[in-house]
Amino acid sequence: MTKMINLTINGKAVQVLEGTTILEAAKQNNIFIPHLCYLENVHKFGSCRLCVVEVEGSRNLQASCMVPVWEGMKVHTNSGEVRKHRRMLYEMMLSNHPQDCLSCTRNQDCEMQAMGQLLGVTEARFGGDNEKGEVEITPSITRDMAKCILCRRCVTACNQIQGVGAISSQKRGFNTVISPAMELPLGSVDCAYCGQCTAVCPVGALKETDAIDMVWQALEDPNKRVIVQTAPAVRAALGEEFGMEAGHCVTGKMAAALHELGFDDVFDTNFAADLTILEEGTEFLGRVAKALTGGEATLPMITSCSPGWIKYVEHTFPDELDHLSTCKSPHMMLGALIKSFYAKKIGVDPKDIYVVSVMPCTAKKFEVTRPEMMNDGVPNVDAVLTTRELAKMIKQNGIDFVNLEEMNFDNPLGLSTGAADIFGVTGGVMEAALRTVYELVTGRELPFPELHVSPIVGLEQVKEATIKITDTLPEYKFLEGVEVKVAVTSGLKGAKKLVKQIAEGISPYHFIEVMGCPGGCIAGGGQPRMTTDELRQKRMAAIYEEDEGKPLRKSHENPDIQKLYKDFLGEPNGHTSHELLHTHYTERGLYNDRLQEEI
């Protein structure tokens, strides 16, 4: 039963659903109330009080983001009193905020700055103290708590949305600080480096650790061959940074911009996504074959492309790591191939090659530093830029992105099928795997309209599907009549549910896809801020549009992948693959108590 409430805002009569807050009611009626800590559909806490309004009959000004409307309410959002109060609050906030905007990475992209402009505050009247400790730089995330305005959006992201709880509010009053327990460094606790906190922070307090300088340096070094690759989700969001309409991929312009920035080769992580499907699909069939023919095999198998998810499971379920596919994530695979297969092809020493990955992800910055991600003493990938960072570099270089002539990725590591595109969205890796595995086993195309496995498409936290295998090809007779049960989740909270089932021995699934961020890579911690569900939907549509526009839709049909196996790798899961494309995991424990002391 939904009841409608009548009220007036600035004299205008409006009607909204019962339970709506004043702020939401105003928004629905195109009246903007300034707000800072509130984040639509994500976070409501009432700490900044910049959203105050006058409610007739109430003695004090009310925080409009917290107060629900009532029948006959009369609200004034912009009276002299309100304006004065708002400015005062803002100036107090500014008084203990370091005023080094010019050297802050969020300059021009900061909600605090924007608020100051909106309120017309042009000088800092109050001076104040600020002792919130040193800047912490982890491989993925940089924390500068002196800049924190205590909105607690990050606490909501980490606790309520991701279910990790690496950070929380510590101490009280003026000493309040957002940090891990006992103010331990973030790098020493069970933070997954998913970056969801950096994606919601309104100021420069939580952000990705900068790689832009390193990449410029490499580009300027005449002795380095600098090679770039881009993840599937980057093209679905990059345009937003240049004011382009969300919901369309900017693949061609992105490739052109990367050429213009001076990269020697512009490759596509999508190529390696296709490769991943062959490696992971083969691994999966191998495990199932073993299990069905009386052997020992660990099922369900879980995907391993999302490094935030990997770090999370290493901390939270260190006893379940055998369930992870041994496949490296696609960009690591491509890095390993660039420094072996491609290096040989162009006759360059792998040590003189510098690989940059552009990713929607902050966890990938940590992933490339893992000791497992090296071959012959050189790291597979040298630097990771987030989508946000790439946009910055393009702007720094004065490139007119919107009007760029479209270009293609370079050969031989640039061609991909539609199956690779959907790696960027929740459900995509599973669908891509099923497109290939089903056809391999039965000789027939996956029986879904447009090849989309509809039950696992969409933004729900946990999705599942059952695929019945019939009329198999002779060599897969052991699968005849088998119902393959798959589950898909995005966000670490959903992942916890599914792994808990495994730990308790009650998981009904054979194959599980996990992406660490809600919605998948399209809403990764390194994507343009602020990711709303509306934007997720649009980016998802962009990804599927890209997929459907490709002449080839299944990874095993990629002719360059076929050639790579023929010329270099041999067989999927063969010896060379194992050397270059597969990895192992590290038991960490919730308190890093399972880590072996490193020497």
């Binding site: 929380s168 510590q170 891990p180 006992m182």
Partner: protein
Amino acid sequence: MKEEKSICCCCEEENQAELIAKINEVIEHYKNKEGSLIQVLHQAQNIYGYLPLEVQKLVADGLGKPVSEVSGVVSFYSFFSTQPRGKHTIRVCLGTACYVRGGKKLVDRLCDILDIKVGDTTADRQFTFEVARCIGACGLAPAMMIDDVVYKQVNPDKLNAILAKYKD
């Protein structure tokens, strides 16, 4: 249990394992009761004397909460302490009256004598040293308290003599 190993500190008097077992009993009792975190922490502090990180982890795991949240609660309330407490608590008043009449000097001198910072406990666990806001003896500032006894118009040079009474 892995926690027991890491908890072990240098004081031999108490049997750590026994204390941990007692805390685990408390946790077991409150396990499925919503909103019992503060209760559990209280009892854990009574048992253990204070709430170091290792005890916070125990409580966090037991109640299925992240330790960052537990630590948030511990650091929010002043009645929780993450440091061992001394046998006696010294509180120097830094209310307005005491402050202007030399409270700060008392603090500095005590830091020297005890060789610790405000908020800490001496190595021999005799004294925990804190500051207070007005203890109601403004007329006879500067004032301080040791446990329940109020000392008024304290002369910094007399501090050694006062403390001597509390040493065993």
